[in-house]
Amino acid sequence: MHYRHSDTVEAEVMPATAKILIAGGFGVGKTTLVGAISEIRPLSTEEVLSGRSIGIDDTSGADRKTTTTVAMDFGRITFRADLTLYLFGTPGQERFWFMWDELAYGAVGAVVLADTRRLADCFAAVDYFEHRATPFLVAVNCFDDASSYQPEDVRIALDLDPDTPVVLCDARQFDSVKKVLIALVRHAIAKSRANPEYQGRPLPAG
């Protein structure tokens, strides 16, 4: 994001940024959802596999460090010069779990995109956000040929907490995605009020 150069120090805008995570199984429509509402930008990451990923916390000897490259996109919605929202799709494979802590740190919350034909694909994401107490909702992407499930069926199948919203959406449609994001932010506001102790988790490692 680039801000217009200000003539005086007093006129400098204080930019605020927020991020939302888009999780879900491979091929469920995460990139489609991000592209429906935001400008997509490419990002590469070259990360050191942490102990969590490889089972050994290898901090000794640079020659033994293992790095992995992840090519990912992110979405950017520039509302105003001083307010931008970023959408990050979470890499699906297990070896990229180390990135989730980084992405989740400071996030407004997460959308877990679900396909009713492959609900099990979003178990890992639901577990992760529940464990971390990150506000999330489940958005059921209604593919044309998917049998129509009711949100309550999905809630039961995923064993969700009663206050976790389940919404139906069409990840291709701007208005539908907008509604999903609004529902998530509302949920995040409700959770931050309901739970003041919610603050105070440690910085991600590295």
Binding site: M1, H2, Y3, R4, H5, M14, P15, A16, T17, A18, K19, I37, R41, P42, L43, S44, T45, E46, E47, V48, A62, K65, T67, T69, F74, R76, I77, F79, R80, L83, T84, L85, Y86, F88, E102, L103, Y105, G106, A107, V108, K178, L181, I182, V185, R186, A188, I189, S192, R193, Y198, Q199, G200, R201, P202, L203, G206
Partner: protein
């Protein structure tokens, strides 16, 4: 990973140096200098660098791209360097006094005011 005999490199292949070579092998910023993915950074005009400071080519390239405030992920995308590498280099520049963090989320959760601003902005989108 492809077998060596399958490998071919030409001008299109991009850099062939492993990314962390540009950080001299460092994979994490100095402790206490966490810079988040969507923190906003900006170059300091006419910084007084500590004596014996040597800015690498990548340091200078980064600075040249943040005369205006820019987020870490946008900067990494702009200059096509892995974001982990960018964060190490940015923390160097911050320690040299050549870079300032203009805005940071500053905590594990956004504050309620930011949440309300985002909600209002989404509703008028």
């Amino acid at each position: 990973m492809s077998a060596p005999r399958d490998r071919w490199l030409d001008r299109e292949a991009g850099p062939v140096v492993r990314p962390y070579a540009v950080t001299k092998g460092r994979t994490a910023p100095a402790s206490g200098s966490y810079i988040g993915l969507i923190d906003v950074v900006a170059a300091v005009a006419d910084p007084q660098l500590p004596a014996d400071t040597r800015l690498s080519r990548e340091h200078r390239r980064l600075l040249s791209h943040c005369h205006q405030p820019v987020t870490v992920v946008d900067l990494a995308s702009d200059i096509d360097l892995p974001v982990g590498v960018v964060r190490v280099l940015l923390s160097d520049l911050s320690q040299y006094g050549a870079l300032r963090v203009v805005a940071t989320s500053g905590g594990p959760e956004p504050n309620e005011r930011l949440l309300r601003d985002v909600l209002n902005a989404l509703q008028t989108l």
